[in-house]
């Protein structure tokens, strides 16, 4: 899995890392039990502060997407969406969809885009292990 960081982006680096890991989980690139790189190693590869990577991992841990363990490091975990997540996610989706409508996109276009994005998830399957 290749992670990209846009240094000129207004989105904080930890948020960029968090978002890409979430997308990798949705894509099926990272499955339950998949280990994530060590914070210090990833920070060194990017040339960023390890606290930034730590912040991204901590956010993922709080959201129940990964587990942090001293022995195994960061590992992707299975998670079940609870009602509070559903309400919070709906609120964010509402804002995102409102932006599209406010910009003049038609409901059909918005729905088609949503369908396309949803269909794109799961198309990348993890490699077979021998």
């Amino acid at each position: 899995m290749i992670l990209n960081v846009d240094l000129a982006s207004e989105v904080p680096i930890y948020q960029q890392l968090r978002d890409q890991i979430v997308e990798a989980i949705a894509d099926g690139v990272l499955t339950e039990g998949s280990p994530l790189p060590a914070t210090r190693a990833l920070a060194a590869d990017f040339g960023i502060n390890f606290h930034t990577v730590n912040k991204a991992y901590d956010l993922l841990r709080q959201q129940g997407l990964i587990q942090l363990n001293r022995k195994t490091g960061a590992v992707v975990t299975s998670t079940v969406a609870d009602p509070s997540f559903h309400a919070e996610w709906t609120a964010r989706a509402r804002t995102l969809l409102a932006e599209a409508i406010a910009k003049g996109l038609s409901a059909d276009e918005v729905l088609a885009t949503c369908r396309f994005v949803l269909d794109s998830f799961g198309t990348t399957q993890p490699e077979d292990t021998p």
Binding site: M1, L7, A8, V29, E127, D128
Partner: protein, 141 residues
């Protein structure tokens, strides 16, 4: 005494060669520790500063070697010979810093990164590297 002279001369030559080849072995997009866009790697400022840096290092190396020989000739003290190596390392750092400063100033003044995005990509080794990329197990597809 002969060993000390040979060792000191060899060390000075090694430092001098290292300092002279440094701009060639470092990444062209990070000349003298300054990150520049790929299209600015051959900018006139970078080329000029590289040339100036090499001249400064070469002249300083010759001067440091000459001073070392003179000091040894006057005092006859072999322990002072490594001093020229230390001076050379110090001068090397100074030349590097001056080139770094000049390129950094040109980068800021010219807005070399205006309209460009700086990004870093890292292969984490987790999951497939890329779709269709010949990573591990690509042949089984």
């Amino acid at each position: 005494m002969t060993v000390a002279i040979a060792l000191s001369s060899g060390l000075s030559a090694l430092v001098l060669v290292l300092a002279l080849v440094l701009p060639s072995i470092t990444s062209p997009t990070v000349p003298f520790g300054v990150r520049v866009p790929a299209q600015r790697a051959d900018d006139s400022t970078v080329v000029r500063q590289t040339r100036i840096y090499r001249w400064r290092v070469l002249v300083s190396g010759i001067v440091a070697g000459g001073v070392g020989v003179v000091i040894y000739g006057v005092t006859g003290e072999t322990l002072l010979l490594p001093l020229s190596v230390l001076v050379l390392v110090g001068v090397w750092y100074g030349c590097f810093f001056l080139a770094h400063h000049e390129i950094r100033a040109a980068k800021a003044a010219g807005g070399w990164y205006e309209g460009l995005h700086q990004g870093i990509a890292v292969d984490t080794g987790c999951g497939p590297t890329d779709r269709g990329f010949p990573g591990s197990g690509w042949h089984r597809r």
